[in-house]
């Protein structure tokens, strides 16, 4: 262990330190000054994010349990950026009186789940993967149940923890078979020994089910909507964006590095799952009224698109997945940012409540529209590029019909995104949501999203960079 090793692990280390600082702050700040923790934690996390962006050295630590190449470095930075936006969006919510006593806990839990994700991303063995996954899940349940006087929140918490426990048990069963058939839990060893024997296929499918649960792929997605709806909005956005994004990163790396020898199995599997996910996600999203639930289903559908990049199984495929997640973070956080601002000012989160929003809150509506267009994949915003590249990846591998189904689904998704746009811009309302003055952290957060939505698409350097760090099978 030396300094370089520490530099290599700086994302995790700094984050741990911050977590501890917040813990100390919680203990040392008296009750009336708890809100100071908000700024402390946010600023600290900002610093962490900046540190994360410092140039990286690739390396392997802990006997291949910890891998950090440019790819992992990039993924973590993307997540950091997303979390930073989430934190900014949460400020208004945390300042509410009922949350006063548990501000620091919020940060500790967010940071520790993020830490879990980062370890997952960097994991070099199934053990680390599993532990990271649990670290990213268990505190998450508490976050979902954060509003403890809201029964929906409690329900969300219990649904999340029980489903997660169940899914991790299935995942573990898969890992145990992987271990049994290959004699190792290290990725590199497993990759060498993996074949399409029935037990190994079964092991893979069990493992995949567990991962699919995290990314909420159909039919492993059922918890998603309820949990998203019940959780506090900012937790929902964290769940739907950061947690899902991290899991997608991991899925793509694991599939490409560990299970590349059984691509013949998982490609058709992905095909089925992708079609199911997109279609079911869209069909459910179509008739949702609650904005959170609506976005939940829409994010399920989005996950289906990610599979198109994975199925491409090429450098372009991986690039597109990462790029898409990057874009998706901005788009979805933009949408959630608006939903959150509106909810905490007006306590309204139904689509009908948004009727005529443009006439009272033009800026918020515009941001919302942009974000939704980006989600729908409408140019010139970044979402278009993200989707197009995913489709390109799938098409290059010859999955034209899958692309066709995907684009049809994108059309359905456009339908429901337009429903929101319609509500905001076209529908009339007797009692529209009054003008909302957005607090500045949320403004900054939304601004970041808007810039991201525009810049990521037009500035091709990002994609180019991701290409250089990606790989295919």
């Amino acid at each position: 262990m030396n300094l370089e090793s520490f530099l290599l692990m700086r994302h995790e280390l700094v984050l741990t330190i911050i977590t501890l600082i917040v813990l100390v702050a919680e203990l040392s700040v008296n009750d009336d000054n708890k809100r100071k923790v908000i700024s402390i934690a946010t600023v600290l996390f900002g610093i962490n994010m900046v540190i994360g962006f410092l140039p990286n050295m690739a390396g392997i630590l802990f006997g291949k349990m910890y891998i950090n190449t440019d790819l992992q470095w990039t993924m973590k930075n993307i997540l950091n950026l997303g979390v930073f936006v989430v934190l900014l969006q949460s400020v208004a919510w945390l300042k509410e009186t009922e949350n006063k006593i548990k501000i620091s806990e919020f940060y500790i839990l967010i940071f520790s789940t993020l830490l879990g994700m980062q370890f997952m991303i960097s994991s070099g063995s199934f053990l680390m993967l599993y532990l990271g996954l649990e670290l990213a899940t268990i505190p998450m349940a508490a976050l979902a149940a954060y509003d403890r006087y809201r029964s929906n929140s409690a329900e969300a918490g219990v649904k999340l923890i029980l489903s997660a426990a169940m899914s991790s048990a299935v995942l573990l069963l898969g890992i145990s078979f992987i271990y049994g058939t290959t004699g190792s839990t290290y990725f590199d060893v497993v990759a060498l020994k993996y074949t399409t024997a029935p037990l190994q296929t079964l092991a893979f499918i069990l493992f995949f089910s567990g991962m699919a649960f995290k990314i909420s792929l159909v039919p492993f997605h059922l918890w998603t909507a309820d949990v998203y709806e019940g959780s506090p909005i900012n937790v929902t956005s964290y769940l739907s964006v950061i947690s899902k994004g991290a899991s997608a990163f991991i899925l793509v790396t694991v599939l490409f590095t560990v299970f590349n020898s059984i691509a013949l199995i998982w490609k058709p599997l992905m095909y089925i799952i992708a079609v199911l996910t997109m279609t079911v996600g869209n069909l459910f999203a179509m008739r949702q009224q609650n904005m959170k639930r609506f976005l939940a289903f829409s994010s399920i559908a989005q996950a289906g698109f990610i599979l198109l990049g994975i199925i491409g199984a090429s450098n372009i495929g991986m690039t597109s997945v990462i790029y898409f997640v990057f874009v998706y973070i901005f788009s979805n956080l933009g949408a959630f940012g608006v939903v959150s601002v509106i909810y905490y000012k007006s306590r309204k989160e139904n689509m009908d409540d948004y009727n005529g929003l443009y006439f009272t809150n033009p800026k918020l509506s515009l941001v919302m529209m942009l974000a939704l267009f980006s989600l729908a994949g409408i140019p010139p915003v970044a979402g278009f590029f993200g989707k197009f590249f995913l489709f390109t990846a799938a098409a290059e591998s010859g999955y034209y019909w899958l692309v066709f189904i995907a684009v049809l689904n994108a059309t359905i998704s456009l339908y429901y995104y337009l429903l929101v746009v319609k509500a905001m811009f076209i529908n009339k309302n007797e009692t529209p949501i009054a003008y909302i003055k957005t607090d500045w952290p949320a403004k900054v957060a939304i601004l970041i999203c808007v810039i991201g939505i525009f810049a990521v698409g037009f500035y091709s350097g990002i994609y180019q960079y991701i290409t250089s760090i990606s790989f295919g099978i």
């Binding site: 290059e396 319609k422 091709s460």
Partner: protein
């Protein structure tokens, strides 16, 4: 800055300027100025194009500009124009210019209206200058989406339904299209080497016939939906009926042309073998479109519906001609796009103006309007005559070029369907005269109409611009026809070489 990119940049700058200003009047003025500059630029482009050609530059595309965008996927921002694109750009700038004046009196959220309208136009311009399928597709979708808002917010009647239907059908079309384009892309280097989106590059290679067979229908139908190909045209009547004036103008006038242009620039140009092989299916569909649209128009009562069906018929003719795949017919197809663009824009502008006065679009509630609004009446008659193909107006030139061209085909099948398509000119005459008669002539049905005023100055600008363009093409078509024809030559060469 190259001249072509200006066509995209000027609208964007205009939009930014509109965002900054406060009152509606300034908004209008800025829009008018921006689009006026665009019109002048288009005029200059035509001049520059001829100057370049006369100077002996016989490149397939002029004013090319190539910037690498997404290197990994070999996506470039490639722009360039040949005579066809120049013509389409000119058309667009005329229609947009007229559209701005036609919507001078939009008083509900005028700023937003003009922003959407001009954004839409920038998409259209971008589409026509693109030589890279990716950017082409990007601009295509940019052009389609503002339509939703424009119809949804400023439309009339069942506008939400219509807007949604239009958007979804067009997007459904672009689902096919995207697969088709990606298919072309992935097959663009059958002999190895990097894949490319560049149309000119792809045109040089021979895409395997199996791939062509799969992707030609997709690409063609994908574009065809926008070009109101039977039976995917039903978005058009509802959409047009609900859209506000300028939007109908732009949509029927320009946006539907993206379909025809794309069908020919991408589907046929890049997939010629399959086009030869499968064209008969689409020829049948389009000839159905031509006749069916015309018959459909006869019984409609709503002015906009009549025009929408008429557009189905006329745009069907565009695709029909494109599929004939000979120079004359294709030349006619382009001419028809321009001609239809202008006259249908004129139609919709006038319908908007009349509707704004009478508050009805049902022809049986109107009558004798010629007496109270002679200017609009005369303009409407001119539009009608252009539509039914009166010599001296653009429609005639286009249709005749198509018919003569199509009839030169060696197959009897092609000649027979040509005759079917030709018969549409009579049906067109029937519905146009029916409308003109019911709307403008006869006694005035409603005393309230006597109070109506004739066109205002801005409406006159809009109308006169379009009429002048229509007449200019109709009277002196040679320069335009030659400009298009010369540019068609490389395409025809490719089509003929590809025939074994």
């Amino acid at each position: 800055m190259d001249i072509l990119s200006l066509f995209v940049i000027i609208p964007v700058i205009t939009v930014l300027a509109i965002i900054l200003v406060k009152n509606p009047m300034q908004t209008r003025l800025i829009s008018a100025i921006g689009m006026g500059i665009q019109l002048l630029l288009a005029a200059y482009l035509i001049y520059a194009y001829f100057a370049e050609r006369n100077a002996g530059n016989m490149d397939e595309m002029l004013f090319m500009k190539d910037i690498i965008w997404y290197e990994a996927l070999n996506i470039h921002y490639t722009v360039g124009v040949d005579g066809i694109s120049v013509a389409m750009i000119a058309l667009t700038s005329v229609v947009v210019f007229a559209g701005v004046f036609a919507s001078w009196k939009v008083d509900f959220l005028p700023k937003e209206f003009f922003i959407s309208l001009i954004l839409l136009s920038s998409g259209v311009f971008g589409f026509f200058i693109s030589l890279d399928i990716f950017t082409m597709f990007l601009f295509y979708e940019v052009a389609v989406i503002p339509m939703y808002l424009l119809i949804g917010i400023w439309g009339s009647g069942p506008k939400e339904y219509a807007a949604m239907k239009l958007t979804l059908m067009l997007m459904g079309g672009s689902a096919l299209l995207m697969v088709g384009l990606l298919g072309i892309y992935t097959n663009s280097a059958p002999n190895g080497g990097p894949l490319t989106f560049n149309i000119l590059e792809i045109a040089k290679v021979h895409i395997p016939i199996e791939a062509q067979r799969m992707f030609f229908p997709m690409t063609f139908v994908g574009f065809g939906i926008l070009g109101a190909l039977f039976p995917f045209h039903t978005w058009s009547p509802d959409g047009h009926a609900s859209a506000p004036t300028a939007v109908s103008m732009l949509h029927a006038g320009v946006l539907m042309k993206l379909g025809g242009y794309g069908a020919f620039r991408v589907a046929i140009f890049l997939l010629p073998d399959a086009a030869h092989e499968l064209s008969w299916i689409f020829i049948i569909l389009t000839s159905i479109s031509v006749v069916y649209g015309a018959f459909g128009a006869i019984v409609q009562k709503d002015l906009k519906y009549i025009n929408a069906y008429s557009s189905v018929s006329h745009c069907g003719l565009v695709l029909f001609a494109v599929l004939m795949m000979n120079k004359t017919a294709m030349d006619g197809a382009i001419l028809q796009m321009i001609s239809h663009g202008l006259m249908t824009a004129l139609f919709f502008a006038l319908i908007g103006m009349i509707y704004g006065r009478t508050h009805t679009r049902l022809i049986n509630e109107m009558g004798g309007l010629m007496k109270v609004m002679p200017f609009l009446g005369v303009a409407y008659v001119i539009a009608g005559l252009a539509s039914l193909g009166l010599p001296g107006l653009s429609g005639f030139v286009a249709e005749m070029t198509i018919f003569v061209g199509s009839f030169q085909h060696v197959d009897t099948f092609h000649r027979v369907v040509t005759i079917v398509a030709v018969s549409s000119i009579v049906i067109t005459a029937v519905y146009i005269l029916r409308v003109v008669g019911a709307l403008l002539f006869g006694p005035i049905k409603n005393d309230h109409f006597l109070q109506l005023e004739d066109a205002k100055w801005y409406e006159k600008i809009s109308t006169v611009t379009l009429i002048m363009a229509i007449a200019a093409i109709g009277i002196a078509p040679l320069w335009l026809s030659n400009m298009i024809g010369d540019s068609l030559q490389p395409i025809i060469d490719k089509l003929t070489i590809m025939i074994p």
